[in-house]
Symmetry: C2
Subunit: 488 residues, 2 copies
């Protein structure tokens, strides 16, 4: 068996480069002639789908040069395959694989593998599941421009293997942004770039475990996957009650936890902002006990009212780890997040991160460029205005169509909480689903709900694209009125 790499690499002309194709050809010529072997190899490649319909083949001259055989042999083989209908030849367009009815056997042969969908990527028309910004508003042009500029300016080593902290260009820009926009006390050396919030949380969980922590306080309403991350690291999540003002910190001392994970800017999903007294209490607890606070600032950029909003981390950067993400401010698809870690933990966090699980350096440089050019601030500002309008529309709709429903958690973020009559939340979600609207009931993020749990659904007013938002609101109104009032 002979096996040759066929290329047109030896062709010098620019026009050949433009249509060059890296083609792997098996020439089995035991008893067969070279011509017959090549014919068979190409036919098999087309039949098996390895050469897709429309694919342009190398010129006969190039293929011949590369296989070390006569040009006429290749030309004859091409002619034969054109005659058989496997290839087509047209003036000026070269020799291409014919578009036939039934090639790609290997593709058809493959049984469908179950496509695992992300739980927040619903197939329904209207998506009001939490956690996603308006995807259609991603700043495509700004990102493309930032990427182009970043690529032009990047030093060569930026394309190589990287250390675990992330590109210094991005860490500098994030430090500046987080200080001025979120009140974070930060130096670039303390910023660790990671691939989204969950990656950062996983790193912190491993560091906590290595330092002897066993129990981590989490909000009694919160995302199950975050608790699972703690558990995978060998830590036990312990529920700390939350109310309309966020985590109830007074019970922390008796909870026996060594660390706390919470969402102070906009409690997920009740929606409160942690008041100054509780912030102080939290930091006091951490100082007194040597505990660590993990601040999940998932949507702190989006604050609509004039209320306290600075990052908790600003109160004590030695006791609070700040975790932020581009998933709400730009897009989840970027898989970019960041942490600001206390000095004493920075080395350990970097060792836990290691060399392999990193975000693309090029994306990091593009984000640095976007922040530095002011484009990131502009985008957040524009989105804040957009989300504020949407929030107001949601509130107006509920007031007009479903006055029995109370809307809370409105001061910030991408989602509101709709408190519905007791026992009706599941019916609202189901009614909405039948209308093509995906909603999440509060109960599905309840870790340890109080004896009399809240009956509510979460409504992400940011998620639908503009043209679908009126439809989403209409479907929500129907769900709230027909299901919410039906029950006693």
């Amino acid at each position: 068996m002979m096996d040759k790499r066929a290329t047109s690499a030896d062709e010098p002309g620019a026009s050949d480069w433009a249509t060059s194709l890296d083609l792997h050809v098996d020439l089995h010529h035991g008893t067969r002639s070279i011509s017959a072997s090549l014919t068979r190899a190409l036919r098999d490649a087309v039949r098996g789908g390895r050469l897709a319909p429309g694919t342009r083949l190398p010129s006969s001259r190039a293929l011949a040069a590369d296989l070390g055989i006569a040009r006429n042999t290749v030309a004859d083989v091409y002619g034969e395959l054109v005659a058989e209908g496997w290839l087509t030849a047209r003036q000026g367009s070269g020799t291409r694989v014919a578009r036939r009815a039934e090639p790609r056997r290997s593709v058809r042969k493959a049984r469908a593998v179950p496509e695992l969908r992300h739980p927040l990527a619903t197939p329904l028309t209207y998506n009001m599941l939490p956690g996603q910004p308006t995807l259609s508003a991603f700043p495509r042009t700004a990102w493309a421009t930032a990427m182009r500029r970043a690529l032009a300016a990047a030093p060569s080593e930026a394309f190589g293997y990287q250390g675990p902290a992330g590109r210094i260009e991005l860490r500098r820009e994030l430090a500046g942004y987080l200080a001025r926009a979120r009140g974070v006390q930060v130096a670039p050396e303390r910023v660790v770039v990671c691939s989204g919030f969950v990656h950062g949380l996983g790193l912190m969980a491993r560091v906590l475990k290595a330092q002897g922590a066993r129990r981590v306080g989490v909000e009694s309403y919160g995302i199950a996957e975050h608790r699972a991350v703690l558990e995978r690291a060998g830590l036990r999540p312990v529920a700390i009650p939350v109310d309309a003002d966020g985590m109830r910190t007074e019970g922390l001392a008796d909870s026996g936890v060594q660390a706390v994970l919470l969402t102070p800017a906009h409690q997920f999903a009740l929606g409160g902002a942690l008041p100054a007294e509780r912030r102080a209490e939290l930091v006091d607890w951490a100082r007194r006990t040597g505990g660590l606070v993990l601040e999940d600032d998932y949507d702190g950029e989006f604050r609509y009212d004039r209320q306290p909003i600075g990052a908790l981390q600003g109160l004590d950067p030695d006791r609070v780890v700040y975790l932020g993400t581009a998933s709400k401010s730009l897009a989840p698809a970027l898989r970019l997040g960041w942490m600001v870690v206390p000095e004493r933990l920075a080395g350990e966090v970097l060792r836990a991160k290691g060399m392999e699980w990193s975000a693309s350096s090029l994306d990091q440089l593009a984000l640095a460029e976007l922040i530095s050019s002011g484009g990131y601030d502009r985008h957040i500002r524009a989105m804040r205005q957009r989300y504020r309008r949407r929030r107001d529309q949601l509130v107006a709709m509920v007031e007009e169509r479903a006055p029995h429903v109370r809307v809370t958690g409105l001061a910030a973020g991408l989602q509101a909480l709709l408190l519905v009559p007791p026992g009706t939340d599941a019916a609202v979600v189901e009614r909405a689903r039948r209308d093509g609207l995906a909603l999440m009931p509060l109960s599905s993020v309840a870790f340890a709900p109080p004896p009399s749990p809240l009956h509510a659904v979460i409504a992400n007013y940011a998620a639908p694209p503009d043209h679908l938002y009126p439809g989403a609101l209409a479907a929500l109104a129907r769900a709230l009125t027909t299901s919410g009032e039906a029950q006693p």
Copy 2:
């Protein structure tokens, strides 16, 4: 304590958007006037480094509107701070933070955190460590163009959370590329996009472990980190001897392994290509025992001679998992890799991958666009020519300057193996280091070397940028001659 978000969001003009800044201001006005509070808040922000020198502040009108205070108050405060030297005001440039000698206390305060460097990113002038392509040759313009086109064409859902398999656009393009260029038997449904080879290997290790595997055969020369990945999943790496033709498959049956990891196209680091008989023997073993073969095709794109080069996977796609990477063909910084998995394992691999550790969808779409436009093939072709020239220069240098050294592993890839006189390898590496050249001795990738181990150094002729390659070769020549011949 009052805490206000100050923005110029309410300003309509485009010129304001261009300079908008998301500024977080604390107004502590207990007994103090608003004016005094704002003065102090801004001064603290500058002093603490939260507002970096040169930062442009919102206009007094915008800040006043946002804080809900009189414009004159803000103007007075700005004037005061300009007078104190904290800010500067210039016609047409607005109010900015002054460039002072000693702000950024928080930055200076931070003790230097040890920057963990990737082991392949040497600080030396000449880098011939394995694993990296010519970083300076990254196709910046082509990537920027591909990204721009991909962004323009992407559906909105591409910016959201994604399922674990990766973007279908990329899986389709990879399936086409791998079939025609590497002879892989593949349908898009079988492609799993991952974040580099090690990510894919880690997933396969977890799947193998879950299926009851305990021992995995690895090449007796190979990368230690890959063995560590297997160990972290609870598997035991078992050395299978390699020679100049790659893994010696005849001993596999007696090794008691349930899977094998190997580099058939270009054994790392001896450099051999696995011959047809061994390939057949490997697949026979897998069929007979139900074993699984993990094919690490790290540099199979770069083949310089007319020899068999098709992927092993083509022999039996149900028994071989193909693992490829963009780290050698484009850049390690992208953190993009791919696997082609047997149908029966696809579901399990996707479940192991889960939702969190994914490459950026935008990068995936850009790579799909690059392949589909022909740019990926063009880049690989151009690099193959470049690397072939470099390889020839290396061979010529050794022949001329160090004829006592034998060069092997030349048929493919980015690195060659230089066999030096027994006992001189460490001296060659050390002598090179003193000349600013980073080399890796073969001994550092030896897992279970034979009783009489090879004495060699690995020379990555692809890694140095063009302008440094002559210097790297000269340093290598000195190291080989002065150290290699000094020993008996």
